[in-house]
């Protein structure tokens, strides 16, 4: 009798476990300072409300998602992706289409945050930065970044074509509003690559976001392109790194649900929770990225607002990453960059 009971209990446990596991959401993010801010703003409060979460870090490899969707073994529920991937993956059927009535009022969001498959989570910017303790003459334009006579020393840049070609054109005198128009022409691309090639001997390439502030602190480079939140994170640790905002390229990160994810409703609930103004405000307090829900701004004090890429002063001469441009031209330009 006792044995049978144990057997029955084991059997029940076998069936019960997967059922319990289904309620547990797997949230995927890019790691680093950004993931820590998301943990404080979204994951911990959501878990406190009695939900179960597991977090996974990745580097944005869309191949992982594609493989999961194609083999119909989707184990990720909510994934953070960059804007070009959100659009591309949506076109190619990697993500579920979102029902905004279950998430948030579209009118509360930045216009760019509303897409078919991904809801914008925050605004971040790739900017120029320098070490306020070490650099005597602060840069005043992107031309200075490419001028090693005026400011001698190495430059840090992200390994790849995206952002760098835009910066090269800005340095070559193209107005922010015309950058993508020029870059779309063959002559414009030639011009950008030429400018970038000239600087190449003085470039130290970075790949992970955390490397750029490290280079500045160690004195390996005098100027670097960097994600603005990384500078904020370094300054919270007592550094004196400065951002040059004009010509920064801002973009959004999106939450998407891979197609065929098992817990779609729970995932939508999580995203809705994350998009609430109060949670978005906590996120912005922990890292200097602009909340996509504009109602969160009222909850932030001036000091936090001043550091966000969305603040009027910082956004004035900024450039929005053209997602259609990079979705179309990205592969060809990245290949040319590799040559």
């Amino acid at each position: 009798m006792k044995q049978r009971l144990i057997a029955a209990a084991t059997l029940a446990a076998c069936f019960a476990l997967p059922a319990a596991a289904q309620q547990q959401l797997t949230i995927v993010n890019f790691g680093g300072a950004n993931a820590n801010a998301q943990k404080k703003a979204y994951y911990e409060p959501y878990e406190k409300a009695g939900n179960k979460l597991v977090t996974v870090e990745y580097n944005g490899e869309q191949a992982r998602i594609k493989a999961m969707v194609e083999t119909r073994k989707v184990t990720w529920d909510v994934v953070e992706v960059e804007a070009p991937d959100a659009v591309r993956g949506c076109d190619e059927g990697l993500f579920e289409k979102l029902d905004y009535s279950k998430i948030v009022d579209k009118a509360d969001l930045l216009p760019a945050a509303v897409t078919e498959c991904g809801v914008g989570m925050f605004v971040w910017s790739t900017v120029m930065a320098y070490n306020g303790d070490k650099l005597k003459t602060a840069p005043t334009s992107w031309a200075d970044f490419f001028d090693v006579k005026k400011i001698p020393g190495k430059r840090g840049m992200r390994k790849g074509a995206r952002y760098n070609l835009e910066f090269a054109l800005l340095a070559d005198g193209v107005k922010p509003a015309d950058v993508y128009k020029v870059l779309a022409t063959k002559e414009g691309a030639d011009r950008a690559f030429k400018k970038l090639t000239e600087l190449k001997p003085n470039i130290q390439w970075w790949e992970a976001g955390a490397q750029a502030p490290q280079f500045l602190v160690a004195g390996d480079v005098v100027l670097t392109t960097v994600f603005n939140g990384r500078i904020d994170a370094a300054n919270r640790e007592g550094r004196n790194l400065k951002i040059f905002w004009p010509g920064g390229i801002y973009d959004l990160d999106y939450w998407v649900i891979p197609k065929g994810a098992p817990n779609k409703d729970a995932s939508l609930k999580f995203i809705a929770f994350g998009m609430r103004p109060e949670n978005q405000a906590v996120y912005a307090q922990n890292i200097a990225y602009g909340p996509a829900n504009t109602k969160a701004l009222a909850r932030l004090d001036q000091k936090v607002l001043d550091d966000l890429p969305t603040s009027p002063a910082n956004a004035k001469e900024a450039l929005q990453l053209s997602v259609p441009f990079w979705a179309d031209q990205g592969e060809a330009l990245e290949k040319r960059f590799a040559a």
Binding site: Q62, K66, C90, D91, A218, D220, L333, K335
Partner: protein, 418 residues
């Protein structure tokens, strides 16, 4: 001669043939038993090596997207001369095909495929898909498509569709060596700004060659010294060679980052000695990649050299010297030639391992130090263009096999790798 061989079986001979048969059966059983012992390995190799390689090669020439999603368009384009934009019938067929697509994902697959061929095609195809429904005569469909995107009036996109109409394509493989097919299907070189993989392959080979050379220069004297030591001391020192060999590559690469950075041990040491004024740039460039790769691959050079040198009898050099040769000449003309098999094996091993390197250049190199594997990973993970990734993989495989073949030809030695 045995009678059974002449085909006249007689009772005693029949006994003999029975014996023979029994023997043959026993032999066969023994062979099968031996074979069955290797069977798990063969199955393992088949499943983990041959099948994936076959799948990789298949992916490199597979081209199902356009043929599956736009069959009518492909058919309508068959008689087209590929000069100026096609007639309205092709537009009508495209409209029909787009109407038949079950899911936006099918349009997305076509968009991705055509975009790899012609940058900008993605937004054209997705724009056309969103401009549905298309009905009415072909002329009306044409007007609607042009309305969605005026580039539909140009022949480029139609050429891309016509070119990718068949299920198999040489395009990925051609692109991996900077070639392409023109509109008429003739193979030609890529335009200047689209050539990349030739220089990447050249860079991969030159880094590997430099690494192999340094490994040989550093490894040869060390192996020679080890081989000349008594067994016991040689074994102790061999551990020093092997310990790094057993350490994770990532750990060693991270250690090199610490050592080589501008505030690192190497630079501070050199500056402390007064040899340099400014820290040297040793990291995130070719120098760092070569230093770390030499360090990681050195054991693969030392071990084959050592094993060959151990079997070289010392008497030959002694004989040469006693016959009046200078020690240096004796070393180069008598000793070194006897170690050629070791040099060949070590160099081949290091070179072949080096051309597939990924992690070390990715972490220690700059944009111009990335080797072929980096781009295979990039096309797999970032661009999600698996056809191109597989074609580059096939290129790397072919380069490796070619090298091995050349080595076998020139060295004429039966060398077992590994």
């Amino acid at each position: 001669m045995d009678s059974t061989m002449q085909g006249h079986p007689r009772p005693p001979a029949a006994n003999g043939s029975d014996l023979r048969r029994a023997l043959a059966r026993a032999e066969a059983r023994r062979k099968w038993r031996a074979f069955s012992l290797t069977l798990p390995l063969l199955v393992f190799l088949l499943l983990t090596l041959l099948v994936p390689i076959a799948a990789l090669l298949q992916r490199a020439v597979e081209n199902p997207e356009v043929a599956a999603a736009l069959p009518r368009t492909v058919q309508a384009l068959a008689p087209w001369n590929r000069q100026e934009a096609p007639g309205a019938a092709a537009y009508g067929a495209l409209g029909q095909d787009l109407m038949q697509l079950a899911d936006s994902a099918d349009a997305g697959a076509v968009a991705r495929r055509l975009n790899a061929e012609m940058p900008g095609a993605r937004s054209m195809v997705m724009g056309a898909y969103r401009a549905r429904p298309f009905d009415g005569p072909a002329e009306a469909v044409r007007a609607r498509l042009l309305d969605a995107d005026p580039r539909w009036s140009e022949p480029d996109i139609w050429r891309a569709i016509a070119k990718n109409g068949s299920r198999w394509t040489p395009d990925y493989l051609l692109a991996s060596v900077d070639l392409r097919r023109d509109a008429q299907g003739h193979v030609e070189r890529m335009p200047e700004e689209q050539r990349a993989f030739g220089s990447i392959l050249g860079r991969t080979f030159s880094i590997s060659a430099v690494v192999t050379l340094f490994c040989l220069l550093l490894g040869y004297p060390l192996a020679w010294w080890l081989a000349s030591l008594p067994e016991r001391r040689a074994n102790v020192l061999m551990i020093l060679v092997l310990v790094p060999f057993w350490t994770s590559i990532l750990v060693r690469v991270a250690a090199w980052i610490v050592l080589l950075q501008s505030e690192g041990l190497v630079n501070r040491g050199l500056m402390g000695l007064g040899l340099i004024e400014q820290p040297l740039a040793l990291l995130f460039n070719r120098t760092g990649v070569v230093i770390a790769m030499v360090h990681i691959l050195l054991p693969f050079m030392i071990l084959p050299l050592y094993s060959v040198m151990k079997s070289v009898p010392p008497t030959y050099v002694r004989a040469a010297v006693s016959l009046g040769s200078s020690p240096l000449a004796a070393f180069f003309r008598v000793y070194v030639p006897q170690t050629y098999p070791g040099i060949g094996a070590g160099a081949l091993l290091v070179f072949i391992l080096a051309i597939g390197y990924y992690v070390t250049p990715a972490l220690l190199g700059g944009a111009d130090d990335q080797m072929l594997s980096y781009y295979i990973a990039r096309y797999t993970n970032v661009e999600v263009n698996w056809g191109m990734a597989c074609a580059l993989g096939a290129l790397l495989l072919a380069a490796t096999l070619l090298l091995y073949g050349v080595y076998r030809r020139t060295a004429k030695a039966d060398l077992a790798l590994g």
